[in-house]
């Protein structure tokens, strides 16, 4: 049924990846108050991620799992504590602001709340022109206006809206402005952090179609951060599932949804309310995500894990990802393929 026969992931055998992140760890200092020699919160722990040009990689997990921190770290909006980020063949992990500037053009972000990410005093045209000015991408005023109108057209906004302010737009229109701003600098990689979560259902489909068009027409790579599994399944080539800062499972989308291997992924999929009325209620995951300030020793998921026969290591050392099938990795000691 797929409309796209040539898939991003099939072509990455020879071509170098667009983005390669290795062992990324992000820590935030916490509690460094008056008396405290505060500790640190490990938002992202030892995460690897590789993206090919034009690939859409879904990153799912519950609030506080570190998915937004990872997205921001990849764009160098948050400093990494450890690890290495290579983007378009260049190590950008420790680049300072000035050499980073041209690279920032190639990697952009779309935020969840377009209301909060747009300057309320800028018109649509000014908002979209701003990145063109900052990166000196238009030789003169006329060229800039032309480019702004082009961009508005690319994201499906009527040019009549150019003079409007954000509060005069609907949520969907504002999010299109956010997309136009990201596109203005001609990026190759976009981190989209919950880009449709704040939108009404009837408008979500419009935005998802727009993102999919951009991906296929411009060969844009996306890290698509979302808690909405339906949307991720629809849009992404590959999916990583995050829990308490770590990737616990990663697979091609169809595999992940049809044959999830990690007990947490399985629970997430079961928890998704079915659109079939009267579908039997399945067993629920009990308990809650532990605080990242005080993560459990061993596997981060062990306090909620429904697996009954578990090796002792679960309670002692966090498992790393291990291959359990074609393009499929899981971090679970109880998995039959996990090397003992």
């Amino acid at each position: 049924m797929s409309t796209k026969p040539q898939n991003a992931k099939t072509q990455n055998a020879e071509t170098p990846p667009l983005l390669k992140a290795e062992s990324i760890t992000v820590e935030y200092p916490v509690g460094a108050g008056l008396f405290g020699h505060g500790g640190s919160l490990r938002a992202v722990v030892d995460v690897d991620l590789t993206l090919a040009a034009g690939e859409c990689h879904g990153l799912v997990g519950e609030s506080g799992c570190g998915k937004s921190s990872l997205g921001r770290a990849l764009l160098r909006l948050t400093d990494v504590t450890a690890g290495r980020i290579e983007f378009e063949g260049r190590d950008i992990t420790h680049l300072s602001t000035r050499p980073l500037r041209p690279i920032r053009r190639r990697m952009q972000m779309i935020f969840q709340d377009p209301q909060a990410s747009l300057n309320p005093r800028f018109t649509v045209a000014q908002a979209v022109a701003e990145p063109l000015i900052i990166h000196r991408l238009a030789p003169n005023r006329a060229a800039r206006s032309r480019r702004v109108l082009e961009l508005l057209k690319d994201v499906g906004l009527d040019e009549d809206l150019a003079g409007r302010f954000p509060h005069e737009l609907s949520g969907g229109q504002r999010q299109r402005v956010g997309v136009a701003r990201a596109l203005a600098v001609d990026p190759s990689f976009i981190v989209a952090d919950e880009p449709v979560s704040a939108l009404d259902v009837s408008v979500q489909a419009q935005l998802l179609n727009l993102l999919e068009d951009l991906r296929s027409n411009r060969n844009l790579a996306f890290l698509f951060i979302s808690h909405d599994l339906r949307v991720v399944r629809h849009l992404c080539d590959r999916v990583s599932v995050m829990y308490l800062g770590r990737i616990v499972e990663r697979a091609d989308t169809a595999t992940l949804f049809e044959a999830p291997q990690h007990p947490y992924t399985q629970a997430l999929l079961r928890a998704l309310p079915s659109l079939e009325p009267g579908a039997p209620a399945t067993d629920r995951l009990t308990g809650e995500v532990p605080s990242p300030l005080d993560p459990p020793r061993g596997c981060p998921f062990h306090p909620r894990c429904p697996v009954t026969e578990r090796p002792e290591t679960c309670f002692d050392t966090p498992p790393g990802l291990t291959t359990c099938g074609k393009n499929h990795q899981v971090a679970c000691y109880a998995h039959p393929q996990y090397p003992s």
Partner: protein
């Protein structure tokens, strides 16, 4: 409290209209909405932001913002009583007692400087005239009922010491403290993670089985509706545009808006990565609603008649109504 009517629907809303004051004058947020909720029934009120679903709930509770909003007409009969004619005192006696509400964001529904248990105990003392000790003991058992682990300790926690899921359980404990006949739940799981959402939905379901309470569930999430509701009301731009038993609504929706909503949700097997069917355009703002059918400008079935003749909510099947001149007859239609 013995002599409540036992026949007839628990809640009957008839031609309810609500207005809000806007810069452009009064605007009709809720436009002649009529529906019923039977005893023990769960009714879903679905729609997008600004469709009037929360305003309807606030009107039912008598909690429309003072001055800015008002009921402009209609009737609300709850358990045989005409709510809109009640004194404010009688309404207060009903609220939190026979009629309770759960809001989307539990943090705003809880007092941050009062321990969680005290907030529930207060409700019991107010409505049940319980002693401090009895109310506190009942609170601990309510915490247990809503699945809060170590209830005897958690009752002493302040809201900020509890997780989002636990806070929502406290709010639910508060709502069910006096065994209400009707629980109005406005997006009770929207702020929660999906595994916690599943737990809260399960809790609502089991409470209902145990106590037989009626639930009016307000949500934008069709998945939640499919899981929990017996009957569904779909609202669009201030009006109910379709009502049906949950099975019929998902299998054979008749209003083009409902059809569009259901189609636009990505589903497994619908052809991953293909284009999603869109509903074009945007919800009309409350101050500029069309004179004819409110959905006409976004509808792919629009004809001239839709532009100037407002359609009525017509009966199309058993307990199935749609507000459309040209209702959809089959999924392929």
């Amino acid at each position: 409290m013995g002599d409540h009517e036992t026949s007839g629907p628990l809640l009957e809303v008839e031609d309810l209209s609500c207005e809000f004051l806007t810069e452009a004058g009064p605007a009709r947020a809720v436009d002649e909405v009529s529906f019923t909720v039977a005893r023990g029934e769960t009714v879903g009120l679905v729609g997008e932001s600004g469709c009037g679903k929360s305003a309807t709930a606030l009107a039912l509770m008598g909690l429309l913002p003072h001055r800015a909003g008002r009921v402009a007409g209609g009737a609300i009969r709850f358990d045989g009583e005409e709510m809109l004619r009640l004194s404010e005192k009688r309404r207060r006696d009903l609220r939190g007692n026979r009629l309770a509400m759960v809001f989307q964001e539990p943090m705003t529904a809880l007092n941050p400087v009062m321990v969680a248990g005290e907030q529930v105990a207060e409700v019991l003392r107010r409505h049940r005239d319980m002693s401090r000790k009895a109310a506190w003991e009942k609170t601990v058992s309510l915490f247990e009922d809503v699945g809060i682990p170590a209830p005897a300790q958690r009752v002493r926690d302040y809201p900020h010491q509890l997780s989002g899921g636990m806070r929502q359980r406290v709010v639910i404990a508060m709502a069910i403290a006096c065994e209400p006949a009707l629980l109005i739940a406005d997006e009770p799981t929207t702020a929660l993670d999906v595994t916690i959402q599943a737990q809260i939905l399960e809790l609502l379901r089991s409470l209902q089985l145990r106590t037989g309470l009626s639930i009016l569930l307000i949500t934008h999430d069709l998945g939640v509706v499919a899981q929990l509701c017996d009957r569904v009301l779909v609202m669009y731009a201030g009006q109910i545009v379709e009502t049906a038993p949950v099975g019929a609504l998902f299998e054979a929706p008749r209003h083009p808006y409902t059809v569009g909503l259901l189609r636009s949700m990505p589903r497994p097997g619908s052809g991953d990565r293909t284009r999603l069917p869109e509903i074009p355009g945007n919800v009309p703002p409350i101050t500029a609603r069309p004179t004819g059918c409110h959905f006409a400008d976004r509808c792919d079935r629009t004809k001239a008649r839709c532009q100037d003749h407002p359609p009525l909510l017509d009966a199309l099947g058993p307990d199935h109504h749609a507000r459309c001149h040209f209702p959809v007859t089959s999924p392929q239609d």
